[in-house]
Structure formats: C-alpha cells, structure tokens
C-alpha cells in the first residue's frame, strides 16, 4: 500500500448511495466509508498491476450465438402476478407519482 489516505471519501460514499438508491444515516455513512475503504485498500494490489496488454474476461466460458426461436410461450397469469404486487389499480402496477423527478 502506497499511501495512508482513505481510498474512498464520505462524499463518494454519499454519491454512490444515491446512485444505488440507499439512504444512509450519519453513523452508517461513517461506518460504511471506513469499511469500504478497507476493502478498496485491499484492492490496491490489483490497482497497482500493469495489465495494459491483458484482455478482460467478462464471462467465464466463451460462448457465441445462443438463441431462442421466435415462438410465443405460456404467459404468466396476470391475477397471480398482481396478487403479490405491493399496489394495483386497473390491472396495472400502481406507484406514487414521479413529481418533478428525473427518470
């Protein structure tokens, strides 16, 4: 480990929590910042590697062209699905309004 400064700041954790749609209390923010810092500090070992010429591996087994035919299957029963939904209106999923909110 090259330096002692925290690998992630409270401001960054706040930003990340917002992106992930999580609300943190002040105590949580402090604790998570510390814990995430520990983990990212450990990851400094790979940060330090020079991997310029190494190909990334997104999937463990390289496969190509897996398809399904364009044929309809059995749909789910709407009533079954709506019966476990938190709120329903006119056979649709009901949510609070998105007043002035960005998508």
């Amino acid at each position: 480990m090259t330096e002692q400064s925290s690998p992630i700041t409270a401001a960054e954790v706040t930003k990340v929590a917002k992106l992930a749609r999580l609300t943190l209390t002040d105590a949580e923010l402090e604790r998570f910042t510390h814990q995430l810092g520990d983990i990212l500090g450990h990851a400094a070992d790979i940060e330090a590697l020079d991997l310029t010429d190494v190909e990334p591996m997104a999937r463990p087994i390289p496969l190509t062209n897996v398809f399904r035919p364009d044929e309809p299957g059995e749909p789910l029963d709407r009533d079954d699905v709506l019966s476990v939904a938190p709120a329903v209106e006119d056979n649709q999923f009901r949510v609070p309004p998105s007043l002035g909110e960005d998508s």
Binding site: A17, F32, Q35, I39, A43, M57
Partner: protein, 489 residues
C-alpha cells in the same frame, strides 16, 4: 450427543442406498421422510437451518413416490430422497426469500430448472434453507431471519452463504441439499460442517430460477454426506438448459462411473499460494496429510505455484459486488416484495431499499456501484476482469502439468459466531482459497478430511479445469476413503 448420533458418515444411508431401496419397494419414501422430519423437530430449534420446512408438501410428495412404486412405475434416480433447497432457488408457489426482508413472503410463479429436475427424479423437497442475505456472506449470520448454527458446535458458524444447506445435511435433516456458490458459498460451509460440497464448471448446471448474486460466478451445486451422492445429484440436476444462455450444451461428465478409478498415475498439484500466510496451521497440516494420502494411493504429488490467485480476493470483491449492484436493482418495491410507501416514486424506491436490505447487502451494492461508476470503471471493474484472465491463464499453465490441484477449502475451521461480523474484510478472507475457481469458471469441491486442533471438521479442496469433474471426483473419492479409514482407526 446428537452430533455423534447424526454423524452422517457413520449412521445414515446414502442417497444412492435410499433411492435404490425406495425404487425396489424395500423402503417407503414416507418412512424416510419421517426420519428427517423427526430430526428436524428435535434439533431445528437450536440449529435454524431452514427458513421454511415443507412437512406437509413433502409428505404428499413422498406418498406419491410410494404410490408410483406400488403402481410399478419408477419415480427416478432420487426416489424418496429428502433434499433441502437453499432459499435462493425459486419454488413455484412456495415462499422464496433469499433471507431478505425485501423478498419476505414472495412466492415465485415458477420452479427453478434444478427444482424441476429434482422433482422429476423423485426427490422429496423438505424445506428452504437459510443463507446469508442474497448469498452475500461466509457465515450465514447475514440472514434477516437470524443466523444458522453449526451442528457440530452451536457456538460456531456453519460457514456461508449456504450455511443452512450445509447444516441441514450435517444434522441429518436431509440426505442431500442444494446450494449456490459464487465465491465459495457451497465449499466453505461444506468444510465447516464436515460434509461434501461441490461447485460445478460454470454453465454445467442451469442458473434459471437461481436468484442472481454475481451472474458470471454463480453456480448451483450439491451438498451430501458422500462423494458418490454428490456425483449422483450433479448428474440429476446438470445438463443443458435452453433457458439459460450460459448453459453448456454438453453432456454432464460421467462422474459416477469413474468414482472408483483411483488416482494411480494422476498428477496432483498442491497450490503453494494457498498453504502459507492466512491459513491456520492445523488446516494446512490436514491438507498436507491429504496430499500424502493421494501420493500413497499412487498419485504424483508436487507443490505448484499459481501466482495470480493471490489477486483473486481483490478481483472477486469488485466483480461480484458490481454484478450484484445491478442484479439487486430490481428490488424497488414496484412489482413484488416489500414496499415502504412514500410521496413520490423515487422516494418510495429509496425507502424500500433502505429498509429492505441488510448492511452486508448495502455494502456490496455500494462497492459494486462504485467499481462501475464513471471514472472508476477502468481502475476497478475493468482491472478486475483482466485479473480474471490472469488467473485463468495461471490455472491453465498449472493444468498443463497437473490433472487436479489441491488446497485447503477454508483458511480455518468453523469460527465463533459474531467474531467477524464487525470487520467485513476479515470475513471476506475466508474465501481466499475458493474464489479463484469461481473467477476462472472451473469446478472445485470440498471433501471432509479429519478434524482440526479444535476437533471441528476440516475440508480439503480439489480443483480441476473446466469440465474436469471426472478427475476431481476420482481424487475426492480417494480422499474420502482415506478419511473414513483414518476415522475408524
């Protein structure tokens, strides 16, 4: 005490024996089930292996199995065998929670492919087992419904995240169990609970209906009391599924037929990087003993360096959380599961997720979100994907000289409950030896191999290249025989 009573290797009939007896009509599935249910009644209160016990449903299934046999039909290869399912496998009409508040009460409208295959083979599903919330953890303490205790010592963790499944098999609640393994979540609890646990080659078992954690790492695999039972279960549930794009279109390696082939002439490499720092001396000693016993059985055993595995932990704790941050986005209170009402939809989503997820899940979602976010992708996630390439490359090099590799499964035997919950990084270090196989997509399994200094089970890990299940099971069978021999003497 009951630990000895239910010590699997000594007392219980195997899944193979049970299925054979049920299929021939010598044993009734109902009787087999009642033995399981009685054990559950006796010890579930102190172990808490299950989120849900399906006693009535199981009795119904067992009766159908017996009826089939009586009617001259063959219920299948797992006829009447009690099986426990990790509670992140979708079961139609049966609550599936991932041990999370956010999914509490949710009943999937469909069965996971593996659940269908087990049912078709005549298995009797006895319940849904506890896990670390969304399979994130190594101790099953991160369950919203309370921790699972290790059947060998109730003050110890069973390991995780499939701790409930491991404990269920170790306590004799079920003959077999299914778990999922993203970074060791089958093998590590198997080791800590003294049972066999196996992670197949990525793509060998369908993930359809497995609630995703790290999609490029997750595999479903078996828990059992014996290597042969694990082989049978793998053969029943493995094989191509057109519903999973990453499912391999190949035959499941014929592990059962090669179990007794021995290791004579086989080349076995003991991974040096997994024998030093961070590994408890008693565990390292048992692993060396395993290597010696393979050598005694005719294998050529040498130490081998797989240098990149030391970066596995860092790469894993970027890749898995990154995928998880995306996989767990859907829990937004809109369509199913928990909702915390709020004036606007954005506030509702945030309030729901904040109340619905536990700390470890939040930690990993934030870590993954950070690793993927603009400005950090290349330094973290992108780099981690390259480390996967390095690890696979180093494994490939090792497998050029060795048929299988050997290491401890877990750095230590079962640890005290609560001892690592405050320090996530120390918890993550449990996965040191198991993670590299997930990153490479390779199979690996844990076999019980005696006990540590504290008298608790030690597991030894056998690793193999992709689709190298046959040499892996052959090696595991030799280790199992040696461990049983040693226990008798």
């Amino acid at each position: 005490m009951s630990d000895e009573q239910h010590s699997p290797n000594a007392v219980d009939p195997s899944a193979i024996e049970t299925a054979a007896a049920v299929r021939s009509g010598d044993l009734s599935a109902v009787e087999v089930l009642e033995t399981s249910l009685t054990r559950i009644e006796e010890r579930e209160g102190e172990i808490h292996a299950f989120n849900l016990v399906l006693a009535e449903e199981a009795r119904e299934t067992a009766r159908r199995v017996d009826d089939a046999v009586a009617g001259g039909a063959d219920p299948g290869a797992l006829a009447g065998v009690p099986v426990a399912l990790k509670d992140n496998l979708c079961t139609k009409g049966v609550e599936t929670t991932c041990s999370s508040r956010i999914l509490e009460g949710w009943k999937p409208p469909y069965d996971a492919t593996v659940v269908q295959r087990l049912a078709a083979a005549g298995a009797v599903m006895v319940g849904k087992t506890n896990l670390d919330e969304f399979a994130m953890g190594s101790s099953t303490e991160n369950s919203a419904f309370g921790p699972t205790h290790n059947p060998h010592d109730l003050s110890k963790v069973p390991g995780g995240s499939s701790g409930g499944s491991a404990a269920a098999v170790a306590a004799g609640f079920a003959t077999l169990a299914l778990g999922s393994d993203t970074g060791g979540s089958i093998r590590q609890p198997a080791a800590l609970c003294g049972v066999v646990g196996m992670k197949p080659t990525y793509g060998l078992v369908s993930r359809l209906g497995l609630i995703a954690f790290g999609s490029s790492l997750d595999q479903i695999g078996p828990f059992s009391n014996s290597v042969a039972d694990a082989a049978l279960l793998l053969e029943v549930m493995g094989g191509h599924d057109p519903g999973d794009s990453t499912s391999l279109d190949t035959e499941v390696p014929a592990v059962s037929t090669h179990l007794d082939d021995g290791v004579s002439g086989m080349r076995v490499g003991l991974i040096s990087e997994m024998m030093g720092e961070g590994i408890a001396p008693d565990v390292a000693a048992r692993t060396r003993a395993a290597a010696e016993c393979l050598a005694a059985a005719g294998a050529i055993v040498e130490e081998v360096s797989v240098p990149a595995v030391v970066y596995g932990l860092s790469a894993y704790y970027l890749v898995a959380p990154a995928e998880a941050s995306s996989n767990l986005a859907r829990y937004d209170g809109v369509r199913y599961g928990m909702r915390v009402e709020a004036p606007t939809v954005g506030e509702m989503i945030e309030a729901t997720r904040t109340a619905g997820f536990g700390d470890e899940v939040k930690r990993r979602i934030m870590l993954g979100t950070y690793a993927l976010s603009a400005g950090y992708y290349d330094a973290f996630y992108g780099k981690a994907l390259k480390v996967r390439t390095l690890i696979r490359g180093d494994f490939d090099a090792a497998y050029g000289n060795f048929d299988v590799l050997l290491s401890p499964t877990s750095p230590s035997t079962a640890f005290d409950m609560g001892s690592k919950t405050a320090d996530p990084l120390s918890m993550y270090l449990n996965d040191l030896c198991t993670i590299p196989s997930n990153l490479a997509g390779h199979p690996a399994m844990s076999v019980p191999f005696g006990r540590g200094g504290d008298g608790l089970p030690v597991g030894v890990q056998v690793l193999a290249p992709a689709l190298g299940e046959v040499p892996m099971f052959r090696t595991a069978a030799v280790l199992e025989a040696a461990a049983r021999e040693e226990a008798r003497s």
